[in-house]
């Protein structure tokens, strides 16, 4: 398996240290009516306690183990999100102290990421993405006195645009996910370049051996021991294996009773036994590149097709919301990648905890996400330059959305805002449009749900697809102008 060179590959191990802002799934606009700070009810009210539990189960014991190992010459990388640091600073300063002892250790490389662990890299406008990288860099400088140069780009596939933005932000290498589009079908254990940016590709199978299969008793390799795992790494072909794991795997997602912490403790010596060296990502990125993978990407190609309709609606809505939600803290918490991830039934794991839920669960999550986003936009409208315009541009939760349908069957999609309605008019079948025009649905929805009586009057009786679309699009442009 090793091919001609019998040298074992190097290993580059990274940990994603983050605790998301979970939504409050029971949020209902009626409940908070009249309350002054409704935004407290958007997010999980028990964040402090829940995070405390995760620290007790995972962050503290794992970091203590790592500190011992680091002194023994083991090398790894930490990707610590800005929200994580904020939370720790506010509630658990002693854990931050512990973490910074590890992060400032000479054998640890601190990685760059987006401050809010956000989906901003998937937006058409990458200003927020770049802002968050710089915010995160400042925070890392402040707490750990380093300016990270390797970016953890593991939550969604890299695109030419994000690669450029990273280069602008002074990033010199990136870790990308092994099952994302540009990396698919290639030996992951090499350094590649993507539009000139050196990239390391995570090895999904080997990551998931730990992150997903470790506690699974039906697995034919159970129980996985560190020495066995090191053997697998040793025979894996290539120069450098990149593993990027969610830190909560160690003790929280996979409980310590499974022996995961002992596994972590035994791993460095097992690796040494096999002659495997652990390296920093920035060192691995300096290996001679094995090829360029930037050319194979088709713009608008399969990578963007991996989303579900719900994820797409949510992403579009949350990007628009940047100009509509008054409180940036609320908006940025809604950018959290975990929210979007939960809107699919199965998301690629690749070092992250297994995510496989029912369709109902994804829909429920989407519904609460949209309820909160819509409520935040409605609340902010009052203080906007033109409250009416802000209200007309807001998104609505699924129970108020416009569901496209023909006389005998649903078309399978729904518009949650004026913009989405205009987008969907582009491809809605003729019989669907005819059906809604006959029933005056467009007029009634815009009038009664969106509340833009002027536009409603204009679309009334319009049956031509292009004309409908143009009328709405023109109005949207006008509304945005009034807000700026």
């Amino acid at each position: 398996m090793t091919g001609e060179d019998s040298n074992p590959p190097m290993v580059c191990l990274g940990f994603d240290i983050h605790y998301p802002c979970y939504l409050n799934p029971n949020f209902q606009p009626d409940v908070v009516k009249g309350k002054r700070n409704a935004k407290d009810s958007y997010f999980n009210p028990n964040t402090k306690e829940d995070l405390g539990r995760v620290i007790d189960r995972s962050f503290r014991p794992a970091t203590e183990i790592l500190l011992d190992l680091l002194d023994g010459g083991f090398t790894c990388a930490f990707s610590i999100s800005g929200v994580m640091v904020e939370h720790l600073e506010r509630w658990y300063p002693e854990t931050l102290e512990l973490l910074s002892r590890a992060a400032t250790h000479r054998n640890v490389e601190v990685l760059a990421e987006t401050y809010y662990h956000s989906v901003a890299g998937q937006f058409a406008d990458l200003a927020e993405f770049e802002d968050e990288i710089l915010m995160h860099r400042d925070l890392m400088k402040e707490h750990f006195s380093v300016a990270p140069t390797t970016f953890a780009h593991t939550d969604y596939p890299i695109t030419p645009a994000t690669a450029e933005a990273l280069a602008r932000a002074g990033i010199r290498a990136a870790i990308i996910e092994g099952n994302g589009e540009p990396a698919l079908e290639r030996g992951p254990n090499h350094t590649y370049t993507y539009r000139g940016l050196p990239v390391l590709v995570t090895h999904c199978d080997l990551s998931d051996d730990i992150a997903v299969r470790f506690p699974w008793r039906e697995w034919d390799r159970w129980p996985l021991m560190a020495d066995r795992y090191a053997e697998w790494l040793a025979v894996s072909p290539g120069d450098c294996i990149t593993l990027f794991l969610d830190y909560r795997i160690f003790g929280d997602v996979i409980g310590s009773e499974t022996g995961i912490l002992e596994f972590l403790r035994a791993l460095p010596s097992a690796l040494a036994e096999e002659g495997i060296q652990t390296v920093h990502p920035s060192d691995a990125a300096r290996l001679s590149p094995h090829g360029d993978i930037g050319e194979t990407t088709v713009p608008g190609g399969p990578q963007s097709q991996q989303r579900t309709i719900l994820q797409q609606s949510a992403l579009e809505a949350v990007e628009e919301a940047g100009g509509l939600v008054a409180d940036p803290a609320v908006w940025r918490c809604l950018l959290e990648t975990d929210h979007i991830r939960r809107m699919a039934m199965r998301s690629p794991s690749c070092g992250k905890p297994l995510h496989a839920v029912s369709h109902q669960a994804t829909y429920d999550y989407f519904a609460s996400f949209m309820r909160i986003l819509s409520h935040a936009e409605e609340q902010s409208a009052a203080s906007a330059r033109s409250p009416k315009s802000a209200l007309a541009l807001r998104c609505v939760p699924p129970d108020k959305a416009f569901y496209f349908s023909s006389h005998d069957r649903p078309a399978g999609y729904a518009a949650h805002s004026l913009q989405e309605l205009a987008n969907m008019l582009e491809f809605a079948p003729d019989d669907v449009i005819r059906y809604h025009v006959e029933r005056e649905d467009f007029y009634r929805w815009i009038d009664q749900v969106i509340g833009d009586t002027k536009l409603a009057g204009k679309v009334r009786g319009v049956s031509h697809r292009r004309k409908l679309q143009l009328t709405i699009q023109k109005r949207i442009g006008k509304l945005w102008k009034r807000l700026s």
């Binding site: 399969p302 963007s304 991996q306 309709i309 005998d408 078309a411 491809f427």
Partner: protein, 383 residues
């Protein structure tokens, strides 16, 4: 190897106005690939009279007539035998017949080196059922007789081979399995799936399941439609496209009322290829499938398949490696589709594995070489 003079007998070809099903491309491409290797190939088929040379294959057309299919094939056989005799100097080395339609011509020419290819059997075309009516028995009789007098028989899969041996007592030594070939690059196209989906009024991110084939009992479109409510129960945004037409269409449209299904009717080759490359999954719910050209087409476009565990599909799909095989039941088909549809990375992996399989086993080069092997054996004195 010396060049051979070959005669193809097939009632449809790509270069005539008569096109019925998958037989035409299979026979035409094989003829063209043999011609490309320097053999002299004459293709006897239906069409507006007037001979033609297309891609180095000599076509000889006739316009048969008859009150029923049996009668029709008899006049066709007689006309094509006349056409054959007209160019039989120097004598043809091999006479290759495709399916039963021209068995009567084969009877007239039974002393020559004849090869009969079974692309399917009458039993299989009825979804693995016997029919008591006249045509069924006449056609089965012809298939039996063809297998009896042919010097060599080829079938498109092992299961058709078994079927032919079982139904018509063809001895095993006579039968060689030669799969249908395909030109994988013709079916692989760089398209933006979202754009194609939009064209059909589907959300660009909605997962699309494609069915391609005649809407007949054999191909099992009704099984897929019965599976749809079960699929929607676990994931409601899946859309279904049925490309092709057939005698069950009206019935199926009634069944599909209110479901996210579109019947596209007959689609052009270009649209067919675009659809293949844009869909997320190809369903092949056949009750009987001698080979399953849809399978190799889907694989060529790197699509993954959920297929019923029958015939050629059963032989060629490696379960969970390049597709998923399920029993011939709506709930099993639903299970297979649900198992894949929300895991795009897995679907891509299966599709790519399928493409590799096509490159290895089903390219025309490979298939032509195996056909020539049968001819050589026959010329050397028997299979």
């Amino acid at each position: 190897m010396e060049t051979l003079k070959l005669a193809f007998f097939c009632w449809e070809s790509l270069h005539s106005s008569f096109k019925v099903g998958g037989l035409a491309p299979a026979a035409t491409h094989l003829a063209e690939h043999l011609a490309r290797r320097g053999h002299e190939v004459h293709f006897f088929t239906r069409g507006e009279p007037g001979d033609a040379v297309i891609n180095n294959v000599h076509y000889h057309y006739c316009l048969p007539f008859g009150d029923n299919i049996i009668e029709y094939c008899r006049t066709m056989s007689n006309m094509l035998v006349d056409a054959f005799r007209a160019c039989d100097t120097p004598a043809f080395d091999i006479l290759h017949f495709h399916d039963w339609h021209l068995v009567e011509a084969m009877h007239t020419l039974r002393d020559r080196n004849t090869v009969l290819s079974f692309h399917s059997t009458e039993y299989g075309r009825h979804g693995g059922n016997f029919g008591g009516w006249r045509e069924f028995q006449e056609i089965s009789g012809k298939e039996w007789y063809g297998g009896y007098i042919a010097k060599a028989v080829t079938t498109v899969s092992n299961s058709t081979k078994t079927e032919v041996m079982w139904l018509y007592n063809v001895p095993e030594w006579k039968v060689t399995v030669i799969p249908n070939g395909i030109d994988p690059d013709a079916y692989h196209l760089m398209v933006d799936p979202g754009e194609v989906k939009k064209h059909y009024g589907i959300h660009p991110l909605a997962p699309v399941v494609l069915f391609v084939g005649r809407l007949t009992y054999q191909k099992g479109p009704d099984l897929l439609i019965q599976a749809i409510p079960r699929i929607l129960a676990t994931r409601w945004d899946v859309q279904f496209l049925f490309a092709g037409t057939g005698d069950m269409r009206g019935y199926l449209e009634g069944m599909a009322h209110g479901l996210p299904v579109q019947f596209l009717g007959y689609v052009s080759d270009a649209d067919h290829i675009r659809l293949l490359n844009a869909c997320d999954l190809v369903a092949i719910p056949s009750r009987n499938e001698p080979f399953g050209l849809v399978l190799t087409e889907a694989w060529s476009a790197e699509r993954c398949v959920v297929a019923t565990d029958v015939g050629g599909l059963s032989e060629n799909i490696d379960n969970y490696v390049n597709g998923i095989k399920v029993p011939v039941r709506p709930d099993s088909i639903a299970w297979g589709i649900c198992h894949l549809i929300d895991d795009p990375a897995y679907m891509q992996k299966l599709g790519k594995a399928g493409r590799r399989n096509v490159m290895e086993k089903f390219r025309w080069d490979v298939v032509t070489e195996r056909t020539l092997g049968v001819y050589r054996n026959l010329l050397a004195g028997g299979p």
